[in-house]
Amino acid sequence: MNKTELKTITGVLEQGMNRQLLYYLDVCTRCSICKDACHQYVSTGDVLFLPAYRAELIRRVYKKYFTRSGLFLPSLYEARESDDRLLDELYRSTYACTGCRRCMYYCPFSIDTTWVLGVAKAMLIAAGKGAQILTELAGAAVSKGENIDLFKDIMLDLNKETEKELQSLIGDSKATIPIEKEGADILYAALAGVHSILPPSVIFHKAGLNWTLSLFESANYGYFLGDVEKGRIIAKRIVDEAKRLGVKEVVISECGHAYRVMQYLYETWAKEELSFGVTAMVEIIARLIEEGSIEIPSGKERKIVTYHDPCQVGRNAGFYEEPRYVLNQVASNLRELNPSREKNWCCGGGGGLVAQPEFDEFRIKTGERKAEQIKQTRAGLVVSPCENCRLQITALNEKYDMGVKVTGLSDVVANQLIGRDIATSFEAGQTEEPEDED
């Protein structure tokens, strides 16, 4: 590693320095209480995935370059040059972290390992070692924002098809999925794919909301990558759209990290205050039921249903009651995972892991707890309002033979509203060409 590279890295550390980070770096006693909080350490036993060790790698660089004591007594702190080996270790331990913050919950000093790893990511990016797939995904999302006019026609075309499906689902040939509707109250930021557009469309339509669908997906690979600038630009696409259309509220699809970005990170990243409210999908469904805008037909589902608290929806956003309230309306036999809520185990798919094939094997391995937990409930249906969790649990389902269906909260509710079995999935082309079904 040459001098300039080293300089960029320490530069990043200097720039990224903030008080919370300093606390975290200074206060950890390496007591290792966090070790059994992390699903990745628990299932691999590899110290590289012990939360405090991940942070310790950075702490070593930090001690080396930033404190008197580290400078004078390097061996006392084992401070080492930020050499390539350190960067490789850092890469593995940093990009593996799902950002679940379960370790923060258990740490007696509430040390947020993810926050510390944010610096690690910035350092890796500066050294040209950011996760490749995430870099490409973030780059593509930024580019899509810049060239949206190139894609608009295709997207509107596609939307026409989705609209037809909505119409046949709810039996109303006038139902629409508005895009770029000025004066709408709500801008819904979905994920690419009808499975994330149709169920909320059904719900919004039934509730008679004045809404519009965003041209942009809520997912933010800039955040996973740890590139604040890209993350900001990716989120800004939706913010700008919301401002342009003058909406009061942006509803984020069932996608945990996307909500976190909009609700907790964006304002600081962009140094601007949002002029609209940010609502999670679970929140708005609960609200609509509570205020009576949608009515769940009686005739509750009696099969065992379980709910997986996505880390970014539960521990990191506080939606514990809303989803349970909704599910209890829909199903009569909701069984909790053990443990659940703030103590729930991470599914193992967060942090962009599901998008990175290099972690495929790892995340299946580190999802074993989750698989076990779900099996114990004997549920046939797992509901989780986060795309990452669902992809991961679906993968676990296959590998660990769990025999469950995995679905989202809006799917369950939308199915109820249109009188289908709650586990029916919303796939593209389901309602097209009924003559195919012979």
């Binding site: 320095m17 903030n18 008080r19 919370q20 980070l21 300093l22 606390y23 975290y24 200074d26 206060v27 950890c28 006693t29 390496r30 007591c31 290792s32 209480i33 070790k35 059994d36 909080a37 350490y41 036993g45 110290v47 012990l50 405090a52 060790y53 310790e56 008197r68 004591s69 061996s75 006392l76 702190y77 084992e78 913050r101 923060m104 919950y105 258990y106 007696p108 000093f109 509430s110 040390i111 947020d112 926050w115 907790y264 990170l265 304002e267 600081t268 539960g314 521990r315 990191n316 956003a317 506080g318 514990y320 443990p339 809520r341 703030e342 103590k343």
Partner: protein
């Protein structure tokens, strides 16, 4: 007092206290100097009221009951270590000023007994806790995570405790003598009373005091800075709304 004792159990005490105080202030200043991120890093559930938030913060800071779920022995020994430390601190205050009401109630004999038993228990409990923490660090994965600083601090504390316990159990020196020494420190004329100066116990005392001084000096610059850091850092935990 000979010159070595004067240096270690006299001058160094002042230096240690000064470094500890200035170091602590410096540490706080050093933190406050760095701008805080306006991102709210708290986790849920969160209390809704100010009062609830305070209670939650106090619970997180002083009891950290969530640790019981993942590492019970560790929780126990950590709690014992801290309560013991606090008790030891309070016990040492007796060397500044006798706890008169208690002493009158128990009588001179009774007070001596009480102090021997309570102080003895605290000393042993502390020693056992530190031994637990230390031995844990020789096993994987704790060993992989540990740095020389961790061992250094634990051994330092261990030595302080060892000397302290030695004074308590084998010192054969009356409390009045120690009190006289502490008073001489307080009046900036460090001196051992005859009783101490002529006893071999003196060297144990000097070691006890010297090591305590080192600990005190190192405290603000070590990971043990959590003695002030924990308040701030647990406040961050409750910042989410």
């Amino acid at each position: 007092m000979n010159w070595l004792s004067f240096l270690l159990a006299g001058v160094l005490v002042y230096v240690a206290v000064a470094v500890f105080l200035v170091g602590t202030v410096f540490r706080v200043y050093y933190w406050l100097k760095v701008p805080r991120s306006s991102i709210r890093l708290g986790i849920f559930p969160q209390a809704n009221s100010q009062r609830g938030r305070f209670l939650q913060w106090a619970r997180d800071t002083f009891l950290f009951l969530q640790v019981l779920d993942v590492d019970r022995p560790m929780w126990l020994f950590v709690i014992l270590l801290h309560i013991g430390g606090l008790a030891a601190f309070v016990g040492h205050l007796r060397l500044i000023q006798e706890f008169t009401p208690l002493a009158t109630a128990l009588g001179k004999e009774g007070m001596g007994q009480f102090s021997l038993i309570s102080g003895g228990i605290v000393g042993i409990v502390l020693l056992v806790s530190v031994i637990y923490l230390l031995s844990r660090r020789f096993k994987s994965p704790y060993r992989d995570l540990s740095t020389p600083e961790d061992y250094f601090l634990l051994i330092l504390i261990f030595m302080v405790l060892l000397m302290g316990n030695h004074l308590r159990f084998f010192g054969h020196v009356e409390v009045e003598a120690y009190r006289a020494y502490v008073h001489s420190l307080l009046t900036f004329s460090p001196e051992f009373p005859v009783e101490l100066a002529e006893s071999g116990t003196r060297w144990v005392l000097v070691t006890h005091v010297t090591l305590s001084n080192l600990l005190l000096i190192y405290l603000p610059f070590s990971k043990l800075v959590h003695y002030i850091g924990t308040y701030a850092v647990n406040l961050v935990r409750s910042e989410a709304r």
